[in-house]
């Protein structure tokens, strides 16, 4: 099947961003509507990717190929399989919500704000669709630029520190990956094609070195303990939209990288180093869970909760069974919805109170009943309540982990307690109880635009929780294929 859908998904938002910039912030209404139109169009062009996706096929679909840099044999090679297609949809969907969320809140340089998010959306679609390692890398690094600006220009008081930390941490990882990519290019006899690399035979030592290089790149992005410290800073300082994109999509890039690079290129090293990866994941799940418990800042709490949930994802990858891996993927998508929604909820409160401190709130349910209902719902999903998407992924990963080793599964299962503890305790302090102060008393409930944004996410969370089959069905063949590939030694 040949089509230009993937190119459209990448370049439509980027070109649209150019138009938004050209319109400028002076013509605010026209610019906002244009940005929304571009975002919606960007989402609509990704729908045929899901509808036309052949679920029985494990290989790449919607493939586009063109020569890009012949000197280094670099191709503009795009394609999606069951693993990546959902993320393109998720990304384009979240972009629409982010544009809506920044509708009135952003007052300064709104045109640049919208354009930055649209560019970012296109670049991230590029990352998920790229099958050429150089193309992947180029999108991967370029996506740092808009995020750096989003945090730095529209962020909180300590935004400069957070923006630099975010950029340099991530760059550290990706530069090492660049060397790894060059090494693989030479080892594979002059190809940057990822699918070729999956077949390249490698000795154990180079495999381990490559795995470590990729690990640094992707672990920073996920982020895994102990290279997670940039995330709480970035989340706290970023504007709401930035936090949403960071949590919902950017963190997934790292996890996706493991599936596209580390596992299939260095399968033996992956098996060899799996105990290390499982240990790091469990530390993220348990230790970071405790860290989240003591946070006084809502955004920080959700940021730590993200790290903890992403620990679940990496755990699911490295136990090497179908249910674990699929659970991890479901968890990634579900976390995209839930963490995005949680950050939007905090954003709604922050816009009214200009505070993220839990202590400044109390009894919000009395003044904002509609909002409180949604917030509590998302909190429940975040702690993994059955019938929400949060439950499905966690449950599958725990099943997979128990299959792998009972104690690993038991340790992972503590997240159900910890996650419920930190999320619900926060909700209790913020939403319930008596009205804490006059500021809370003056709060107005969410307007229809905010309701629409949160409502759409609530529907997605609920749908995925009750009937996850449409999601797992798409990834089934590709996951199966990946696991078979990883099981075969390349030595």
């Amino acid at each position: 099947m040949s089509s230009n859908l993937l190119s459209l998904a990448i370049w439509l938002p980027i070109l649209g961003a150019g138009a938004v910039l050209a319109l400028g912030s002076e013509r605010r209404d026209a610019m906002r509507w244009l940005a929304l139109a571009v975002a919606v169009a960007g989402f609509l062009v990704t729908l045929p990717l899901y509808i036309g996706f052949d679920k029985a096929q494990a290989g790449m679909q919607f493939v586009e190929q063109a020569s890009w840099i012949p000197r280094f044999n670099v191709f503009y090679l795009l394609g999606v399989d069951g693993i990546s297609v959902l993320f393109i949809l998720l990304n384009s969907f979240i972009t629409v919500l982010v544009v809506l969320a920044g509708w009135t809140v952003i007052e300064e340089k709104q045109g640049q704000y919208m354009a930055a998010f649209l560019i970012m959306s296109g670049l991230m679609n590029g990352i998920f669709a790229a099958l050429d390692a150089m193309l992947f890398y180029v999108f991967f690094e370029a996506s740092l630029i808009p995020m750096y600006l989003i945090i730095g220009v529209w962020g909180g008081p300590n935004r400069v520190y957070a923006a630099f930390k975010f950029f340099l941490y991530t760059l550290l990882g990706s530069l090492l990956m660049l060397i790894a990519l060059i090494y693989l290019f030479l080892a594979s006899g002059g190809s940057f094609n990822l699918l070729d690399w999956h077949q390249t035979r490698l000795e154990l030592t180079p495999q381990i070195l490559l795995f470590v290089a990729f690990l640094v790149a992707f672990a920073v992005k996920v982020p895994m303990w102990p290279v997670h410290t940039w995330l709480p800073d970035a989340h706290v300082e970023a504007p709401t939209g930035g936090s949403v994109v960071l949590a919902a999509i950017m963190l997934k890039l790292g996890a996706y990288g493991f599936l596209r690079f580390s596992l299939p290129i260095a399968p033996d090293a992956s098996q060899y180093l799996a105990p290390l990866m499982i240990a790091l994941s469990l530390i993220a799940v348990i230790y970071i869970g405790f860290v989240a418990l003591v946070q006084a800042d809502m955004k920080k709490l959700i940021a730590y909760s993200s790290i903890s949930h992403m620990g679940f994802v990496t755990l699911g990858f490295f136990i090497f069974n179908q249910i674990g891996l699929e659970g991890a993927l479901v968890q990634m998508i579900s976390h995209g919805f839930i963490s995005g929604a949680m950050f939007l909820c905090v954003g709604v409160m922050y816009d009214r109170m200009h505070s993220r401190n839990i202590a400044d709130y109390g009894g919000v349910a009395n003044t904002m009943p509609k909002f409180a209902a949604l917030f509590v719902f998302f909190a429940m999903a975040n702690s993994g309540l059955p019938a929400t998407s949060g439950f499905v992924g966690e449950f599958m990963v725990i099943l997979g982990a128990i299959k792998f080793n009972f104690w690993v599964g038991a340790a992972a299962a503590t997240t159900l307690i910890l996650g419920a503890a930190y999320t619900l305790w926060m909700v209790k302090r913020v939403v319930f109880g008596a009205v804490a102060n006059d500021h809370v008393r003056e709060l107005t409930d969410i307007n229809s635009r905010e309701f629409l944004v949160l409502g759409l996410l609530a529907l997605a969370v609920l749908a995925m929780g009750i009937y996850p089959f449409p999601f797992t069905d798409v990834m089934h063949a590709s996951v199966d294929n990946l696991l078979k590939h990883v099981a075969v030694s390349k030595l």
Binding site: Q112, E141, Y148, F164
Partner: protein
Amino acid sequence: MLQNFVVPDLYPAAPELFLALMICVILLVDVFLGQSRRWITSLLTMVTLIGCAAITYLTADGQSVLTFSNMFVDDLLADFLKLMLYFTVMVVLVYSRDYLAARDLERGEFYVLVLCATLGMMVMISAAHLLSVYIGLELLSLSLYALVAIDRDSSRATEAAMKYFILGALASGLLLYGMSMVYGATGTLEIGGIAQAIAQGTANKTVLVFGLVFLVSGIAFKLGAVPFHMWIPDVYHGAPTAITLFIASAPKLAAFAMALRLLVYGLFELAGHWQTMLMIMAMLSIALGNLAAIAQTNIKRMLAYSAISHMGFMLLALMSGVVADDRHFMINAYSSAMYYVVAYVLMSLGSFGMILLLSRAGHEAEHLDDFKGLNQRSPWFAAVMMVLMFSMAGIPFFVGFFAKFSVLLAAVDAGHVAVAVFAVMFSLVGAFYYLRVVKLMYFDAPTDAQPIRAALDMRILLSANGVAVALFGIFPQAIMSLCTYALVRSM
């Protein structure tokens, strides 16, 4: 004596002869022009450069032709570098015109000296004889000393010129000493003859290697590689910005040609020796340049240290040409170095051009703080500067990334993986100070509220410069293959 005199074939040196003639014409014409009609000199200079370009382009036949008793060579490499050179000098002239006029420095000498320096660089590029290397180098250097001191009332500029002159004289001395040793060992000054003599094994190796050390020192001085970099920050800082722009761009092309002619064309058999020297200098330059740039508050000094690190990167490619007598890496490595220089010149022109754009009569925009809030004063030029900074930092999609990438590829290909890792780690350090410029432009409020005024041609050219840096990043193949083609045809 006289009967031995053969009229040399002048055809291959037509651009140089035309330029020399025009220098005399401009010198004469300018004497009769008042300051109000200085534009005639400016126009004549432009016409001269365009004429040179036309002659070079029309006489480029892809053949390597020696003339002037084998002192001068006209090959495709020379033609390509010369065309780049004319282009660079023309851009320099456009960028610097208003700056010089506002400071009453736009005198006839400026144009004549720039053209003399250009002639010197052309001779260096086409040198096939140690003496023509030296003559070209001296013509360039003496013109530059005078140009640095062109603002004779500025004590800082005079000090810089003095420092440049003394250190430059020392470097010339080293170079001459090295040449005399090479002559002593091989009995010839012709670069081709030297290569032949060494290949035949008749040359005294010890003397040769001693001579090589001095030659490499001389080249390193011109490039500004550590430990011969001392002059760079002071001269870049002290010279009027328009002159800094000139020193920071065009001579890099000539110095690269000199390195290539002497080391690769002449002393290729000694590659094992000079590659080690270049490696040490490259690593020191990358480390020191990037570390010292962080501490700078003056953007000219910052860019000076950044230039040192960039030249280190270029050397990285030059030292990757030969591995254990296996020569198939040559073209790849040297064309990467050439691509790097071309890309660097493009970025350097743009960034110094931005400093000139922000400067006006009575105000030197040479402090980093002068870039504060540029996004609010002019979103377009802030974007141009951002593109340049990210390109210098080596972030895709900009030309600087692909330059770094091809150099790293050459280094890894030659087996220098550890050196490549070292280099990328320091470019991580380097990313910090480029990011700081972006931070100042985008995150901070402006301190300087004056509107940006510049002539239309400068605005257009500077914009085109920024767009070119982005465009050659998205489509890097064109320049890459030109570099490779020029080298292949000239080796």
